[in-house]
Symmetry: D3
Subunit: 325 residues, 6 copies
């Protein structure tokens, strides 16, 4: 089996901590989790499901901050090391084109750098859960575009470059409540406004993802295919349990699944993941990758309350996908 290489840029300041000596875990937690606590800003009830990208030799991010009214809001933030974050106290103010509705709320953002700017996708409450798109170049001024797809849809994630000349988005259409079902689809566009050529990508197959699945961080390009972390939900008699695993998608036909982990890579097993506003949740929304070393850092929400970090090696995860491990 070939050793998968990351195809992106090197990222020497990637946050990192080596795997513990005796451990064989494919994904391991940062020893100082959570990196962002629930009360990180004065008005916040919780900060989680957050999207982080490299930005001008430092890091920037878009954060889901639920306030103490329990409203769901997006805030931007900045960090030198990717671990200690300074988050704006006010939510992002979008510059909105005529004819587009103001977002009712904002949750579960992803940020993808494509060509010359950072695109944000998130769930925005246009008559129900609906995928909004916006962009920024400086994490200070944010421009909203037309909503990408009709409601009722969540977990909209852009690929970090055009494929076959098209922008590509993953999404998870479903209903307008605490959805008990959901599969991943892919849609294509020339202009980020009109979407079509929809393709079905995959459903939950293993027990840990049997209720529903959704794309996690922006896919990571490797020599073997696009590496996608995705969350999967199992329904216990006490509600949903959120895990995550990984999938390898074909580079040129990214609706084709090349391989996929049968075991979850991480499940809620420590306090910040088991106890909080929604017990038993790990939910990844962003990943940083350093092509020089193959290291990947995954940002994930814990118990819908705090932001945590975990680490892995690209080649190990890709092999697990190919081995259906």
């Amino acid at each position: 089996m070939a050793e998968a290489k990351l195809l992106g840029a090197p990222l020497p300041n990637l946050p990192w901590e080596d795997r513990a000596f005796a451990s064989t875990e494919p994904v391991w937690r940062y020893s100082k989790n959570p990196i962002i606590k629930r009360n990180a800003i004065p008005t916040s009830n919780s900060v989680f499901n957050s999207a982080v990208v490299p930005f001008q030799n430092r890091f920037a991010g878009v954060f889901r901050c639920d306030n103490k009214k329990r409203e769901m809001r997006l805030h931007s933030g900045i960090s030198i090391n990717g671990l200690d974050w300074s988050i704006d106290e006010g939510p992002i103010e979008w510059i909105i084109p005529e004819g587009v509705s103001k977002p009712e709320y904002g949750y579960d953002p992803r940020v993808a750098f494509i060509e010359d700017r950072f695109y944000i996708t998130w769930c925005n409450g246009f008559h129900g859960p609906c995928i909004g798109i916006g962009w920024t170049q400086d994490f200070q001024t944010f421009y909203m575009l037309e909503n990408a797809l009709l409601p009722y849809n969540r977990n909209g994630v852009l690929f970090p470059r055009r494929i076959n000349g098209k922008f590509i988005m993953l999404s998870r259409p479903s209903d307008n409540g605490h959805t008990p079902f959901g599969e991943i689809f892919l849609s294509q566009s020339d202009d980020l406004v009109h979407w079509g050529q929809h393709r079905w990508v995959m459903r939950g197959e293993m027990p840990w993802e049997s209720t529903k699945i959704g794309a996690g961080p922006v896919p990571i390009e490797t020599t073997e295919g696009w590496l996608l972390f995705h969350h999967g939900v199992l329904t216990s008699c006490n509600g949903f349990v959120y895990h995550f695993g990984a999938t390898l998608l074909d580079i040129d036909m990214p609706w084709k699944v090349i391989g996929r982990t049968q075991s979850y890579l991480l499940s809620p097993q420590v306090h910040d993941e088991q106890v909080g506003d929604v017990p038993n949740v790990v939910f990844p929304c962003a990943a940083l990758a350093d092509s020089a070393t193959g290291r990947i850092a995954i940002y994930y929400g814990g118990a819908d309350t705090v932001t945590c970090l975990a680490f892995c090696h690209c080649a190990e995860i890709v092999n697990r996908c190919l081995d259906h491990a």
Copy 2:
């Protein structure tokens, strides 16, 4: 109040029956309903929710024929007078472009003639209820296009011409079961493949449409706006009751509602509408209009079992919309 005129072509052979002498009903039933019985072809369990258009001085149609396996299938048919129909015994065979999935099933078709061909939209079962588009020029060879929108969506209806240079489609996003909610949205496209600039159009407002609504026949152009018949559903303690009413949409900004009937125009009140595979359903999918007289003939399904016909005068219905009658 101006008298609304139909803007389309004359249709001298429109099926028609005058309103009964003493009646003041805005929409009245054909005295020989149902025009198509449930066993119209040897394999059919029911024939209903059917789409009819003028075709070469006669009429053609696409019919929902559920067979005796209770599979939902589309069949084409032909008629000289719009009342007596010859329906193909075999279902429509689509010529399908590469990359597009074969339809799992077909139900609730609409047919719109735009520019040079007949476009069919229907619910096709691409990983759930999903709106397919296809076209024909002869009702013998049928070409499928890319699916228009992501699942889960039903009641996709095209406008009969471009507006502001765009193709326009109404749809009703919802879930994948016997949906208990749903509102009408509008989407726009340059190429019938990529859709965007989604606009919210309307929700159920009156009790008869309080559970959900959906567009019915292809909108009819009038001097006062687009005339849209739409079905509305009320939930009784014994299930859903389907009625229909009408809405007038702005000619150039068809996501704007100009007027709308507050009362239903037709509700299930006679045997073929009250008794059948799904009791208490009237469901319109097609309408013919004669601009010379202002007459409109509406084809609707009865009790999800048979195909029925009703009639009205354009100006009367438009006035009811404007009066919110």
Copy 3:
């Protein structure tokens, strides 16, 4: 067993039809049902669940007329013979005391004559199903009082005189949807405004009333106790089926059940009861009684669509209650 006598006034013009020669049914249908059709007034979708009383040697009534918006409204009406009705085209306009909300809607009225006026109780939509009370002396001017009880409650029925100096009301507290449960309670008042001394009366015991029960017409005073007709609901795999039976309550402690029919007295078995907006419903809201003959005429809704009439002899029904037949 003593022969029960009616204690009220004679009512020589009571509508009546003898039991068919060969029949042994305790309650029999009028041969010309329905007496009021669904389109009795121009705006009506249905007229059913209606309350009728003797009034100035004729009859007056309060009718549930759902209009073609499917709004639920109360209308008053007048009749010489109790069979042919003239119903006001406009709904009842209430004169409402300060602080009391205007009714959102009106359904399932009962009318009780107490002392010097006619009291109407109905379900009025004060933040959910809630029992309103009003009164009239002429069936032209209607005065509303404070709502009697908190939501969520339906089937509020007054006794036709004070008992132990108190006004007495039966009601059926439950929830705000298509309630799947419900038992009858009794409340007491000095002033028709403040209610207390609540007593539990009975629950559904037999299969035909196993989902829920509710009081029907105003109780009828007999030598053996108060005769109460009540509806009972059974849940089939296709929804609710409404039947009715009878109960005998203690004259002085009307929360005490003396006897009760184990079999239903009437169930939906003919077209107007089996087919309509809500299939399989017989729902009694009013009864007239002639103390000279022991005859009782029961007004009931059929399939939530039309108004029907049935007949019985007081002594026979009382005996069935006492026999638990």
Copy 4:
């Protein structure tokens, strides 16, 4: 394809009516349906889902009679021609062995003659729906045995002879409500008391049987296999619709399906099947077969209200099973 023959005894007095001249239906209705009306005995609300067998040159049966309390009861009956029935006014009184509970209720009986007596299986309410077994030799004295299987189970049907030395029963385990799922299993026994060697037989595959299925009449032995009529349920937005089809099971390994009709053979399409206590139900519980002619008469319940009759030819149905028609 070989012409299937019936292997049982001739039954010259089988009730029969030829197929209408122009009809090609595989199963056709008796022109005088219903053969038993809902009020066949004074206390009955409905008589349906009834089991009929040849008995001493005449016919005997066990009938589901719901009384006017809506209690579900089994009654026996007798007939000279299989069409006109005399039904006992009182329910069957079981002689019950020590340790076995008295049945709470009785519904949906089947009767199988095995070796020297008639065995009745039915749903008896032993702490929920549960399959009881009993026997009679004269349809006057009835002996109950131990309950065959644990609750929650319905549609228990015995084969009419031992296979490989074992008694064989089909059943449909499920839950204790209006079950939305269910598949057919087979169990084996030496003594009719202890059951084991359970085998899974089949699930609903076609849309008309997609919610649940259940065995109908006692299987009929043919040269090609056991012919089993089974009901199948589809869930519409207004509840369950019951159809029936047929399956051919292997003679020696009756858990193996040899063939099966993909289309239903009968669905509720006429008044007595579409309108009644449970609209849209045809439910077969018994069949008579004449090996001399290949004729089969099927007794089925209509709308959970009345008893109907339909006819078919053995070879035609077997061929439809083998053709998956």
Copy 5:
């Protein structure tokens, strides 16, 4: 903005702990929570949702003690400092007037001192959740009154004095399960037995209270209005989360909301609130106030398992209500 003053008596022995130096929280937890552990008496499974009042220079209370059968019971208790409690091992025995049913169970008590005695309101299981009223003068002998309102109702809370000559009660009508909806109403009485003049007060408006709300401790009189702490419930995909906030009601027309906190004041964020028999619950049932200092101590249940204490300053909370903070 005027500084709100408490209008009641001084309470120099109010339990109190200052806010932590660096904290800006409006409500802060006692550092030694829980003050009552789950096994406070030998038979208890949990002690929570408890009502405390000043009594003879000490404190008395009524406590919800669920026993190890998980029966819900009310016990009385006594304390010198409001922190260390001696709870009776046996439940309260009510002296019950004729005609009133013995309580099935007891939960979520409130205690209000009015004129000359302590009134207890609680949920007592009279045919479902129902608000009982009783009184005591010595916390040894307890007298029950008529139930105040019909089922199904919870969170009945009396005001501590008559208003406009009337007793006033808040309540939250709903259903008989784990209610997914509910709004606060107000009822009035001359005699604590008959209740009427019902007024709607408020619904949940912010996300943290979007499922349902209910009154908490007895309202506290201030110069700006009645200060009411109320709980609010949000439904996550893993069940209910209980928070609490505050509302200011008009002194003379207490159904009028003057102001209300938009943010919750406390949410489950520490172990005793997040982990227990019902995770993620803070539920206030009592508050003590010292008019000399403006200090308020709030007793609240943690995770339906233990009793906790929190503190605040009257003026700060009132200002937050007026600011809609």
Copy 6:
């Protein structure tokens, strides 16, 4: 009251820890819980609900190990002291008789030694939850038998010897989801293959077991009757809470309940029981008993994640059953 004695063999190496000095708890936890952690083998997500028996002067067991695919699997294990366990990394491979389906999954095993071998019963996924039976003599080779009972059934538990010459099994029939109801039944067999003579044993009576109950460890024979620990489930607004109590069954007629604890013996009150994949679960599947001392060690699952141990004295628990304590 007689002091109950254990009737089995002495077990001098029973794992044991005395009750803490000040405690009066009838069942007390091992101070070093959990004895088996969730990651006990490399592939395990959790190890819980495990069955332990004495075996060749040591202990053997069958363990539910959910792997990181969240598949439910049975593994065998061995231990010298009953505390430290060596668990096979691979799941049990069954030798399966012809005609029996391979288990889809395995969970919640029990092991009973009867006559000359160890019988395992578990839930095996034969078309839904279904009770499998197998046996081993060496915990290395495992033979599967016919499934004992039809789906949908869980918590199948054998008695450790024949009674009246019959094998005896307890089970809990229910449905195929997260069952919200369920009672214990008993079935009898001569051959472990065919089961019959079903008897109803008991339902949940106290609040802690009001949703459903199920048998726990193999019943323990005492001089007073069979001692059965059983779990009981209460539904809070945040899901199920699992407790356990005990029941005493008649020695010769084990379907007769002699006594039963009204209070639970253990409820989830410490971290490993309150926090994990399913919060708030204690679930006993095995017990060891030493007849020389009357000591019992109970193995139970904590939060569906880890394996824990608790202790009690036989006579104390039997007395609590007899006292209905």
